[in-house]
Symmetry: C2
Subunit: 292 residues, 2 copies
């Protein structure tokens, strides 16, 4: 069994990006600039945004954090989005989700100029990914593909089972895994709450990508010996031994599943660090106008 070290890969990629930024500066360009809009003070969102700002520093990017209070109106938020759309000093930006209930997330996403949509959530980017055209691929699916690539995990003709059909992980990673590309070209099955015979289906899989948000869902009896397991779950579970009071748990019963696998991602330190790095890569692509 080999552990897929997402943290180490992410560190390596950040160094690669930083070197690219140095080249850009030497050629007379300014630093890539990522802006993030954070509404309210949700603990999880604060943590994610702080990690993104830190990653910007490591990559040599300029970053701007725009804070808005919980009671901001949709109109005010949309005006900020429009301002960022039109700001030539900003290459890409994100609006950290989730948003307060009185604001339409979909409306906000669709207001973002797709050419600055480094989260890859705008319908134009989702559609272009589905068709197989250059686009900003959303961060978690892109990070998963990068891990499969760096660990040379064979995907062509492999049976790949995706657990979960969310718009930000399950559906896009299924599309990427089925496309005629490397990594890709797998025979993909997408399972979800209505799936019957889930264990049988999983046991046929060479690669399982678990993205349900149910801690410990994938048990040893669901895994074919030698399979590769990508664990996207990051559920906070109470842990009195930690200062924070919680720890992150994945969708996989790691202790019992890991000995069976050829490759497996840990939680934390697997897919998580790759997600932020994919956002950095998209920002670099935006700054260089490589896609649009």
């Amino acid at each position: 069994m080999e552990l897929i070290d997402g943290k180490a890969v992410a560190t390596a990629i950040k160094k690669e990006i930083d070197a690219e930024v140095e080249k850009m500066l030497a050629a007379g360009h300014r630093r890539p600039h990522l802006a993030a809009v954070l509404v309210g003070h949700d603990g999880g969102s604060e943590t994610y945004v702080a990690a993104k700002v830190k990653a910007c520093e490591e990559c040599g990017f300029t970053s701007t954090l725009i804070r808005m209070e919980e009671d901001v109106t949709e109109e005010e938020l949309l005006a900020t989005v429009e301002r960022l759309n039109n700001d030539n000093e900003v290459d890409g930006f994100i609006v950290q989700l989730p948003l307060p209930r009185h604001i339409s997330e979909q409306r906000v996403i669709e207001t973002i100029d797709y050419r600055k949509d480094v989260d890859g959530f705008h319908p134009v980017n989702v559609g272009r990914m589905s068709i197989g055209l250059p686009c900003f691929v959303s961060a978690t699916p892109a990070g998963i593909m990068e891990l499969l690539s760096r660990y040379n995990i064979p995907t062509r003709g492999a049976r790949c089972v995706v657990l979960g059909r969310s718009n930000i992980v399950g559906k896009p990673v299924a599309m990427l895994m089925m496309q005629k590309a490397n990594p890709g070209d797998a025979t993909v099955s997408v399972c979800h709450s209505a799936t019957r015979d889930l264990k049988d289906i999983c046991r046929q899989a060479d690669i399982i990508i678990a993205a349900l948000g149910q801690p410990g869902f994938v048990t040893a009896d669901m895994v074919k010996p030698g399979a590769t397991i990508i664990d996207v779950g990051t559920t906070r579970v109470p842990d009195a031994t930690r200062k924070s009071g919680f720890r992150l748990r994945g969708d996989v019963d790691f202790e019992n599943v890991a000995p069976l696998c050829s490759f497996i991602t840990p939680v934390p330190g697997g897919v998580g660090p790759m997600t932020i790095v994919s956002l950095m890569r998209n920002t670099l692509l935006a700054a260089r106008h490589e896609i649009y």
Copy 2:
């Protein structure tokens, strides 16, 4: 075994649409207006466009056929697209594919205003379908879903195998079948040229959607007794007994597969007629501004 009569369903839907148009006229609206751009004189394209114009008549729509010669420049074609984008008398339009090699199909598709893209090929419509938002769903996948619905074929939790991963059938129908909707909510596997153990995978399927363009590919030994078979193939094969010199053949070995099935679509007369009807429905939705 019950035959899924796409022709009869299509006829019924055209009558329903025609009744809707009568209501629109009574309310003071003009008729829905579909325009089609046909480049060159390809036999297949001529047939398809003629069928679409005829369907417009049956639905009470206005139709306009714009012919351009094979040697039209991309610039001229794009100018026509722009003109149709800005023509308030046209609700929706299509550019019949394939186009001559010197013209970028993707560029033409992306120039069409997505709000008039009744073929559902624009990235905005593809992306919105993937996310599960209201959009113009492309005609063949929409027609398949309509057949499943009208024949009350259970899809929730069903194992659905899609053969083929094209942008216009395989990928979108896979997305629709996996979405939490009715029809939909199936466990979907997408198979293609790199798939191994194809027969085993097909034999697990409650529903097979065959969209490869390989006549007679799906044989009896690939089908679980009681399965539903949707045959999207329409390959022209030589037939000296026909005036045209050819007949259409599906991707399924109908003669040997049909006795095993609970439901099966014939070729012709199955999915084909539904495709055109879906285009008509999208045009009706466009005329009523129900989506955009």
